[in-house]
């Protein structure tokens, strides 16, 4: 059994990239993602990783260079946050229809303005519909594991889609955690050298990125949608294989003390750790509470989610982004819609919390639990509440 080492999560993420033997990295520094690019350039400078590190002049070019390296047939990685994702977003949407299995770590951060470098999920929600596979890690180990598995999934011939690993900025990126590393031999067996299906090869010319007229555009989008949905069983298969190899199993939906619970918190990313502490506290007080974590955000794992909420009366969604003037936070809106066809279905109470690094402690979950009860009692559960606003 490999031993655990204490290290910053950004270093662990960089180690995963090194072990994955990526061929090309193009990225532009932005807090809180910087430690990853710094470590990766160090690996390349020291010859510990044989890759091209392309120090681009912007995130727009980072993603564009990644399109080029990936089209050339190289295993490609990038990482960014917030404004960087906003700047590259135009190109982020173009990678999936071109079937380029780029892997990105998104160190989640709020969007300006006001400018803030701290964590929430506004950045990822901005590109919710970009067509990438999108997963969330709860702690450093998960970021390490999900990143390694991401390449295997993205490059699988049945998938060929880009993969975004979401890592909460600072809360994960800048903390030191015990991480269990993998050795190169094990990784190489799990993740063989990338063999692209199509690449820019003068001996076999292909055209990538043709344009579509109205008579074909819908068909290309339908094909893209089917492809993303069809990645779900492959994701599960690869995560299972990874679990058999390491003993660490991952699922699209994770639950904690959810068995028979009448109320479930629903969270994504690092919220899960605090939420589970809160669940323990509430359980001790005799409350019938559990936790449901959405690990896989796209493709949305409906079946697993429906199974997890069976027999539950209330879902307390803790959103980490706002949909200004909308029907709810982005997660709650999706959940409400995912539940619509269920009968009976749990009611949904939505809180938007933890914006731009505002701490959400276990007591806050207890508080949300109480407030949810009050809102249910008063019949006022539509919409959302931005939680913890100072008067």
């Amino acid at each position: 059994m490999p031993k655990r080492e204490g290290m910053e999560v950004s270093i662990a993420a960089s180690e995963a990239i090194r072990l994955a033997n990526v061929d090309a990295i193009a990225a532009y520094p932005i807090t809180p993602q910087t430690h990853i690019v710094e470590h990766l350039s160090e690996f390349v400078a020291n010859g510990e990783l044989d890759a091209e590190f392309i120090p681009v002049e912007s995130e727009h070019s980072a993603m564009s260079v990644c399109m080029g390296t990936s089209a050339a047939g190289a295993r490609t990685f990038t990482c960014t946050s917030s404004q960087g994702l906003a700047l590259m977003s135009e190109i982020v949407f173009i990678a999936p229809p071109m079937q380029l299995p780029i892997v990105m770590i998104l160190a989640n951060r709020s969007l300006s303005g006001p400018l803030s470098i701290w964590n929430d999920h506004t950045d990822v929600m901005m590109v919710r519909d970009c067509g990438w596979i999108q997963a969330f890690g709860e702690n450093g180990q998960e970021i390490f594991d999900l990143t390694l598995a991401a390449f295997r999934i993205a490059e699988d011939r049945r998938v060929l889609l880009p993969f975004m690993v979401n890592m909460d900025g600072f809360i994960l990126s800048h903390v030191i955690e015990p991480i269990e590393m993998m050795d190169q031999e094990t990784v190489d067996k799990f993740l063989p050298v990338y063999k692209p299906k199509y690449r820019m090869d003068p001996d076999n010319p292909v055209t990538m990125g043709a344009f579509a007229m109205p008579d074909l555009y819908t068909e290309t989008k339908k094909a893209q949608d089917e492809k993303l949905k069809a990645s779900l069983p492959v994701i599960e298969e690869v995560w299972k294989e990874f679990g058999d190899l390491t003993g660490r199993y991952y699922h699209p939906i994770e639950t904690y003390k959810a068995e028979g619970a009448k109320t479930l918190f629903v969270t994504m990313g690092s919220f899960g750790e605090t939420a589970s502490t809160a669940v323990d506290m509430l359980r001790e007080k005799g409350e019938d509470v559990g936790l449901c974590q959405i690990r896989l955000w796209r493709p949305f794992p409906y079946e697993a989610f429906w199974k997890a909420v069976e027999g539950v009366d209330t879902l307390i969604i803790v959103d980490r982004a706002t949909s200004y003037g909308g029907p709810g936070g982005p997660v709650a809106s999706e959940i409400r819609s995912a539940l619509y066809t269920l009968d009976p279905k749990p009611r949904v109470v939505d809180f938007i919390a933890g914006l731009a690094g505002r701490d959400v402690a276990p007591v806050n979950y207890e508080d949300m639990y109480t407030r949810a009860k009050a809102r249910i009692a008063s019949g006022d559960i539509a919409g959302y509440e931005i939680y913890g606003v100072k008067e």
């Binding site: 564009s64 399109m67 080029g68 190289a74 003068p202 344009f211």
Partner: protein, 312 residues
């Protein structure tokens, strides 16, 4: 320029990397330039294209005009995509995953995709020193979206966003000197070219591809549709631009300027302007103003060439 007119047909390489049947307008000199670039580079080439006329005329799903690997991602990033391809091919050859051979990496865009929205990505790619060739097809406006002005549109030209009106004579700014911006990156090779001078163009493209590092070729590409001139005059219009010194043909090799075509008898700019509808509204004093600017610019270029000669 060598005098090869007599042997012209025989000397052109047979290979075509853009197939006939594309959707360019009649007399489009931009697609003529693309064709010549292809002939010069040959089949061991990969292409990143910017959004614009040349992309739209060549790649409607499910068809393609491209006989070489070709990728289009967006409007402003052809240089970045090409630099990625260059880096990708390099690392895969180094790691022995693909055979080691010379593959030309070509990025191409219009004047809008180069001098305006794509300038940052181009500057980044040139500065990073990728071994690639960037070709700007300059038709002096955003043609694909309907003839809007760019920073490469010449003074006095009427476009749909710089119309000639009662108080404004069309474009009121002077054309951005894009080749000079490329030179400022200290890259090994920069050149101007025009498909009206096909051998000069192909020779420069070959030189650019063989340069050790980034190269930039700026190709004057007459657009009969946007310039309001009959399609059968586009090759002639290119010659007039060169002969009036509006668009001198020169190259800058490792910082050294050289005229590649010496105009035997310089023509007045009016000869060039008067055949195009986009300049129809120009008054004699405006033509005079343009003439003065063109002469000044040409003299500045000659001074750089003289300086280069003195230094060597």
């Amino acid at each position: 320029m060598e005098n090869m007119n007599v042997y012209a047909v025989k000397l052109l390489p047979k290979g075509e990397f853009i197939a006939p049947g594309h959707r360019a307008c009649q007399g489009c000199a931009e697609v003529l330039a693309v064709r010549l670039v292809g002939k010069a580079l040959g089949r061991n080439t990969v292409v990143a294209s910017a959004t614009g006329c040349m992309e739209i005329i060549s790649s409607p799903l499910p068809t393609t005009s491209w006989r070489v690997p070709w990728i289009h991602v967006a409007f402003e990033n052809a240089a970045a995509v090409a630099s990625g391809m260059e880096a990708g091919l390099k690392v895969l050859m180094r790691k022995g995953r693909i055979p080691k051979k010379k593959i030309n990496v070509l990025a191409m865009g219009g004047d809008g995709g180069t001098a305006d929205i794509g300038l940052q990505a181009l500057s980044g790619a040139l500065e990073r020193g990728h071994n690639f060739l960037y070709v700007c097809y300059d038709n002096e406006a955003y043609m694909n979206t309907g003839i809007q002005r760019s920073s490469s549109t010449p003074f006095g030209a009427a476009t749909t966003t710089s119309p000639a009106g009662k108080v404004k004579p069309g474009q009121v700014t002077w054309k951005k000197n894009m080749p000079e911006i490329a030179v400022a990156h200290n890259i090994p090779y920069v050149a101007t070219a025009c498909p009206s001078y096909p051998f000069d163009l192909m020779k420069k493209v070959k030189k650019a591809a063989d340069a050790d590092g980034p190269a930039y070729v700026h190709i004057f590409s007459v657009c009969p549709t946007g310039w309001r001139l009959p399609g059968d005059l586009s090759v002639r219009a290119g010659r007039l631009a060169v002969e009036s010194c509006i668009f001198p043909l020169y190259e800058v090799e490792n910082g050294k300027y050289k005229l590649t075509y010496e105009v035997p008898k310089i023509r007045p700019v009016e000869d060039y302007l008067k055949i195009q509808g986009r300049f129809r509204h120009l008054t004699p004093d405006l033509i005079e103003k343009i003439q003065k600017r063109v002469t000044d610019n040409y003299n500045k270029l000659l001074a750089k060439i003289r300086f280069s000669e003195e230094m060597s």
